[in-house]
Structures are given as C-alpha cells and as structure tokens.
C-alpha cells in the first residue's frame, strides 16, 4: 500500500559535521549562497538550485505549474548532450537539477538558465489543463481525498502544492509571472554544487543564471482561496487515515518505527490493507496510518489499527531496532554515492531549514529499543486526526 519513504524526513533533521557536510560554503554578496561538495574522482558535476516558495490562497499550484513547464524545457535541452535535467515542485521550493560532464559546464549552466527563466508567453494553457485533469484525477481516488482532508486538518493555512479546484480555475499567466517574478531572486535562491571543479567555475555558473536582485513587475494580490469542495469518491472498501503529529526529536525513532510497522504489515494476511507513511507538510512532521478493508473485514482492520502501536511496542527487539536503523543509515549514505544524490541530500536538508543530515545519521546510530518503544507508547496514547470514507 503506502510505502514509508524516510528520505525527506531524514534530510530535514540533522546538524553537525560528517560525510554529508558541505566542504565549502560560498557567500556571494547579494546572494545566492552556494554549498559545495567535493567529489574529486568524478568527471561529473551536479547542480541543485532551489527557489523557496510558499503559495498563498489563489496562488496554490503556481509553483507546480512553473516546475512542470520548466521540466519539459530543461529535458529537451539536456537531451541534446545526454545530460540529466529536471525541475520539480517540492513541499518547500521549486527545485532545478542538472548533472553532466565537467567539460559541459557551459551547457549545464545554459540548461539551468533556460529552465529558471520566466514562464513563456505561449503554451501554458495546455499545461494548466493537464494540471487541472491531474488534480481532478487525484481527488477521484480515496487516497487522494483522504490525503487532502488530512492535510487541510493538519495545516489549515497551508495551500496544496498541487493547487485546488478554485485556484486552478483562476490561474492565469499574470499570476504565474508574478509568482516567478517575486521568487526567482538572487537573495532567495540556494545552490548546491557537487563535483570536482574549482569554486571559481561554480561562481561563474551561478552568476550567469540570470537571477535578479528584486522583482520587476508590480505585485499581484494573492487572492483568497474561494473554497474548493473535496468530493466523496465512490469506494467499494472502507478507508481510514489517521495522522499523528510528531515532536522535534522524535524523528529518528519515528523512522525506525515506521519501517518496523511497514515490515509487519507487508506480511499480514487477511482481507485488508494497512500502510504507514511519514509526511512532511506545512513544516510539520506527521506519522500517517492508513487502512482499507471490505465490509467483511472492516472490524478486523479497525481492531488491528487500534492495537498497532501497542503490539509493535511489545514485539520490537533491540536487534530489530539495530537492523532497521542500520538500513536507514545505509539508504542515506548510498543515495549520496553520486554527485546528484549528494547534492539532493544536502539540498533537501537545507530547504527544510534545519541544517545538515549528519546529526540524524548519528541519532540513528545511537538509537535503541527503549526510545522506539517509548515513542510507540506515546503514539498509542495519542488521539490522532482521523478521516474516513465508506461505501
């Protein structure tokens, strides 16, 4: 069902020194800040440029649309020399990524410059229509609706990065241009560079990105969200989703617990599905449990969910915690074995606003069963936010 993905959470948390700490921080007067990670043996360089973006009200979805359009443009250019390039909307930012040979540095800079440039005058309507269809499709599914409801309950003031029916209906080029204009600024952007090239060349590339010091156009009022009803999709099973907000400091234990629960429910028999995820939404970290069952198994599923944390606390062993924390640590280190993976780890942590990743690696190294059992006990006693869908 849902698969716990620890990476965004891992990257948000740690501070300190270690293998994932940048080798160098370059501060350019007026910005941007640049984190440099050296990979001496690699002939490949990767750049990750993030443009922090928080949308208000009727802007919801603008960043996603800008990223979608930029992604198409960047991939077309990158294909000419076989480079890797993409743009993506994350919870915190629009992220532009390129990787390729050091010998193609100029071309890589060009791909970034074109991708980060202002939205084009033509072609946005088709993309906006795609986004509207994606949005509607998402809300036709029980997962999509439950996620939207939980998100709205957890962080009422936050807009959905995918947009809402209301915001997408009113989205236009003017609004998109305004969101781009006020965010793609020198002082706001963050750059991570990973590779074996001199800092001077990194600075040259960054200076050539075409970033401005201040917005050019007159600001467009964000506009209030007019309200977008969340539909009740037709379902043939009973669906439940429960959200447990976590405290700062719980995260290492939560990751281990989520993995343990995920393993347990991979092997559960019976007629129903259970899943565990960790979300980062609106600056909050949340453990989300979901279940889906046909009528004949609904009671069994609900009973299972009710006992989930208590049962896990009773079963989890020191060996389990050691194995799972080792696996999580391995995941992080292995994902950083390439220049683009390394840039991503450091960049994600930076975007989340909590410094480096190494502290979490240390926390995972030292965590024991007692901490995880304590967390499971606290989750068991907590009252979650709960949403349901029934046939």
């Amino acid at each position: 069902m849902f698969i716990p993905h620890p990476l965004p959470l891992l990257l948000a948390l740690a501070q300190g020194t270690g293998p994932l700490q940048p080798n160098e921080m370059l501060s350019i007067p007026g910005g941007p800040e640049v984190a440099v990670l050296r990979t001496a043996a690699s002939e490949v360089v990767s750049f990750r440029v993030s443009v922090p973006l928080r949308e208000e009200g009727a802007e919801a979805g603008a960043g996603y649309l800008l990223a979608m359009e930029a992604d198409e443009r960047m991939q077309e250019l990158a294909g000419r020399i076989g480079a890797r390039a993409e743009a993506e909307r994350t919870p915190q930012a629009i992220v532009y990524r390129v990787s390729g040979p050091v010998t193609e540095l100029d071309f890589l800079g060009w791909i970034l410059r074109e991708g980060m440039g202002p939205p084009p005058l033509n072609g946005m309507e088709a993309m906006l229509e795609r986004l509207r269809v994606e949005h509607d499709r998402r809300l036709e599914t029980p997962r999509g609706v439950l996620a939207a409801r939980l998100r709205a309950a957890l962080v009422p003031a936050a807009s959905s990065v995918f947009g809402t029916a209301g915001s997408l209906e009113r989205m236009d080029r003017t609004r998109l241009a305004d969101v781009w204009d006020r965010t793609h600024l020198r002082g706001m952007v963050r750059v991570v560079a990973a590779g074996g090239i001199p800092s001077e060349l990194i600075l040259l590339l960054v200076n050539d990105l075409g970033l401005r010091d201040a917005p050019v156009g007159a600001p467009v009022a964000a506009g209030e969200e007019t309200g977008s009803p969340l539909p009740d999709p037709e379902v043939i099973r009973h669906w439940i989703a429960e959200a447990y907000p976590l405290l700062a400091g719980d995260e290492a234990g939560a990751l281990v617990a989520a993995r343990f629960l995920g393993e347990e429910y991979d092997t559960v028999g019976g007629d129903f599905e259970v899943g565990v995820e960790i979300w980062e939404t609106g600056g909050r970290t949340v453990l989300v449990v979901t279940g889906a069952a046909y009528g004949r198994s609904q009671e069994a599923m609900e009973g299972r969910l009710e006992r989930m944390f208590e049962d896990a606390a009773a079963r989890i062993s020191e060996d389990d915690v050691e194995r799972l924390s080792d696996a999580l640590r391995t995941d992080v280190l292995m994902s950083g074995r390439t220049p683009w993976g390394l840039a991503e780890i450091v960049g994600q942590a930076w975007d989340a606003g909590r410094g480096g990743t190494d502290r979490l690696l240390t926390a995972l190294d030292g965590i024991g069963a007692i901490e995880v059992i304590g967390l499971l006990g606290a989750l068991d006693r907590a009252t979650p936010l709960r949403e349901e869908l029934h046939p």
Binding site: T17, P19, A41, P101, T330, R337
Partner: protein, 462 residues
C-alpha cells in the same frame, strides 16, 4: 543500454539488504548466533590482480571482485548451479553485511561472476572482512539456499513461455552454436534446480571462487597500503589522489580543505584510437547466416549481429553502437517500432555488434533490411558536422554519468584489468578523439551478419 562491454548472455541477479553481524565473526548456517574469532579471514592466496582508484572525498567504498567462472562451468545436468550460488551469496549477505550498512550485488554471465560490495566510508574494513568470509569460508546457509532456489523457480515460472526469452535463446544458438553454454538458460530449469544440493554449491564455490584467478577493483576513500594489508595482496594504484598522512578515520569532507581538482577540459587535446588496417578479417565468423523462426505472436523480433576484427578497439565499437542506436530510435519514435537497441558482446574474445528490434509484424522485412544495411550506411554516411559532434557529446555524457556510480566504476575497472586493457585510460580524451573517419573505417570492417527473424511469418510484409 550500458556502454560497458558485456559478455554474452549477461544476467543481473539483483541486490541485497543489510542484516547483522559483528566484526570478525563467523556465521553459522541457519542461525543468527555469532561467534567472535581472533583473526580476520585471509584468502589463501592473493588476488590475480587488485586495482584501487583512491578518492578521498568519496562517501562510499565500492569493491568489485570478478571471478572468471560463470554458468558455462555448471555441471552437466545441474544447469543453474552458478546462478543459484550467486543468489545464495546475495541473500546470505543480507544477514552478514547489514551491520556495516553494506550492500552486495551479484552479476552472472556465461563466463564470469561479478560480486560488488558497497560500504560506507567508516565501515569498510569490517565489510570487506565479512565479504571475504562469505565468499571463501563461511558455510553456505540452508535458509539462503532454500530462499534462492524459490526465487529462481519463481522467475522461471514467470518467464515460462515468454516470447522474448525464447527469441534470446534462439539468437544465442545462432551466434554461439546450438551446443554452446551461452545458448543454455543461465538460470537452468526447474528439474535441474531441483537436483542441485547445497554440497554442489559448496563444491562449485571451492572450485571456482578462488582469489588466484580473480580480479579485484576498488574505488573510494582508502589508502592502498591499508587495503593491501587487509587483502594480503599487492594493490595497483590507478591514481595519485591518495594523501599521505591523511587520518583514515576522519570522515570525508571534514578537517582540511582539499586543493581543487584539475579541470578536465577537452576542447583540444584528444587521444587517437587506432583502427585495424583495411582488410583485417572479422574474427567470430566469416560467412553470414539467416534464419526465420515462425511463431504466432503479436510482435516480431529481429537481430542482426556483425563480427569485427579482434583488434577493433572496444571504445570505437561502443561509439558505433551508440550511433546506430540513435539512428534506429529517433525522437519521436517511428510508428510500429516497439523497441530497438545496439550493444556489443564478445564471442571467444572476438568482438560482435548486435542490433535488436521489436516491431509490428507487418514491417518486419523492411526492418530486417534496415538492420542489415546499417553498417553499410555507417561506412558511407555516418552523421556529420554538428550532428556528429552532438552524438559524440551524448556518448561522452552517457559514459561519464554511468561511471559516476561507484558500482559501475569498479565493474569497469575490474573488467578492463581482467582483459589486460590499460589502466585509468584518459576516457574523456579518448572519446573526444573519436572522429567520423574512424567510424567509417570501422564500419567498413564489419563482417557479414548473422540474422534471426522471429515472429508470425504470415503477417510479415515488405
């Protein structure tokens, strides 16, 4: 498609998950009980060759060990032995390497077995010790054996009757000969697998997984002296990036600032690749063959394989394959084409370029003509001007992005070393030295193709 030269009938058997084991411990089959030993395991004899590319900034140590024994060494009637052993090692590694947050992959072909270890910088010694215990000493686990056999049987069941596998077998029989080992399924058969015992695997391991024939390649933040003492082998250093006196326990990225790496600009200097002289004869075969296998399917497969002289440089052949692949797979894709690819292989050390296409049966014969004629076209009219330049840049990017993966880099190092090819070549310079004339002259050297057409004969049209 990997630009690395692949031996015939390559099969990747997948990855591993970490488990638990303490340093210097023995693993008892079927249990998690560990017993500490005083001395770490040493292989009985040094490796035939050991090469190291030191990267002080790497966060991961990657190690590949290439054993020159693959599925062709399966005992008669026990086909699948090597595949089963490779799977057992992988599964057993989950329980042994996980404490060191290391991961193990195995890759089996007709001719060799590649074992690749990835381990974080701060656990590499323990991981290597554990790896060598697994490969050479620790009893094979009954649990892993049962799990591996079950996995392979599932794969065989899933692929049973799969047209693409049948096509690949027919192609292997055409290229290698009907009785060649490469023409037999690497995974064996359910009957053969049922007859293989754990003792058979132990025998295979003891016979074929030996250091004296194996090549080891490593890349990461280790010093040659440290690695040499652990392996009891001489280590050949491919680079001078190791820093004398560097604290081996310090994590990469902390402490001193490294001097910036030299900038690799290849806008001018390049390395010329030597081409075999005109008239050099193809090595794998001298006369082409064509077979048509009539099967009631919804798509057709075609393969055209071209032999080249033994001295044909691998890089040039890879580049030629790249150009052909781009010609066959334009964007947007052609109507009726489901998939096309070009790759290189070796048949008893002789290079062969293999083209494959999966198409709508109605355009089969047109595509056969197209594949068979491609070398002729490349010999006369390869891409030129800016198109050639861009194709070369794409080839270079593809190669370098692939080698940015530590596991791909050590595999590449191990295979080159085992083949006696030069160490640490100036790959960027060599690629930049590829020119249109070299492509044309190489394409001229292609011998007559072996062609297999596989699909519904009644539906094939012009």
């Amino acid at each position: 498609m990997s630009w690395l030269t692949l031996p015939a009938a390559l099969l990747v058997l997948g990855g591993a998950l970490p488990g638990t084991v303490a340093d210097g411990s023995r693993i008892h089959p079927g249990t998690a009980t560990l017993q500490h030993v005083q001395d770490p395991v040493r292989p009985p004899t040094p490796y035939a060759a050991s090469v190291l590319d030191t990267d002080p900034e790497a966060r991961i140590l990657a190690v590949s060990i290439l054993f020159p024994a693959g599925s062709s060494r399966d005992p008669v009637g026990r086909e699948g032995t090597a595949a089963l052993l490779a799977s057992v090692l992988r599964l057993q590694a989950r329980g042994a390497l996980g404490r060191h947050q290391a991961a193990l992959e195995t890759e089996l072909s007709e001719n060799d077995l590649l074992v690749t270890l990835l381990t974080p910088y701060d656990a590499w010694r323990e991981a290597i010790i554990t790896l060598e215990m697994l490969l050479y000493e620790a009893p094979l686990s009954q649990t892993a054996f049962a799990g591996a056999r079950s996995e392979i049987l599932e794969v065989l069941a899933f692929e049973s009757g799969a047209p693409v596998r049948a096509f690949e077998l027919e192609r292997a029989r055409l290229l290698l000969g009907p009785d060649a080992w490469g023409a037999r399924p690497i995974l064996g058969s359910p009957d053969a697998l049922a007859s293989i015992t754990l003792a058979d695997l132990e025998t295979f391991r003891a016979t074929h997984l030996r250091t004296e024939g194996a090549t080891l390649a490593a890349h990461g933040p280790v010093e040659a002296a440290e690695l040499a003492s652990l392996l009891s082998s001489d280590i050949e250093e491919l680079s001078e990036r190791s820093r004398a006196g560097r604290r081996s326990e310090a994590p990469p990225g902390s402490g001193e600032q490294l001097p910036p790496a030299p900038l690799l600009l290849h806008l001018g200097p390049h390395v010329e690749t030597e081409i075999p002289p005109p008239g050099a004869r193809p090595a794998a075969w001298e006369e082409g063959k064509r077979i048509l296998v009539d099967r009631e399917l919804t798509s057709s497969w075609i393969s055209a394989a071209f032999p080249f002289p033994r001295e044909t440089p691998d890089l040039l052949l890879q580049f030629l394959a790249h150009l052909v692949r781009e010609e066959l797979t334009p964007v947007p894709p052609e109507r009726g084409l489901f998939h096309a690819d070009a790759s290189t292989m070796e048949i008893e050390g002789a290079p062969v370029l293999v083209l494959t296409a999966s198409i709508d049966p109605q355009i089969t014969l047109a595509w056969e003509e197209r594949l068979v004629g491609v070398m002729g076209r490349m010999a006369v009219e390869p891409p030129d001007g800016a198109f050639f330049g861009l194709a070369k840049r794409r080839f270079r990017t593809q190669a370098l992005l692939e080698l940015a993966l530590p596991e791909a880099r050590v595999e590449w190092m191990a295979r080159r070393r085992a083949a006696g090819l030069p160490h640490s070549p100036d790959l960027v310079g060599e690629i930049w030295g590829l020119n249109r004339s070299a492509v044309m002259r190489t394409a001229e050297l292609a011998g007559p193709a072996h062609v297999i057409v596989y699909g519904p004969r009644a539906m094939m049209g012009p």
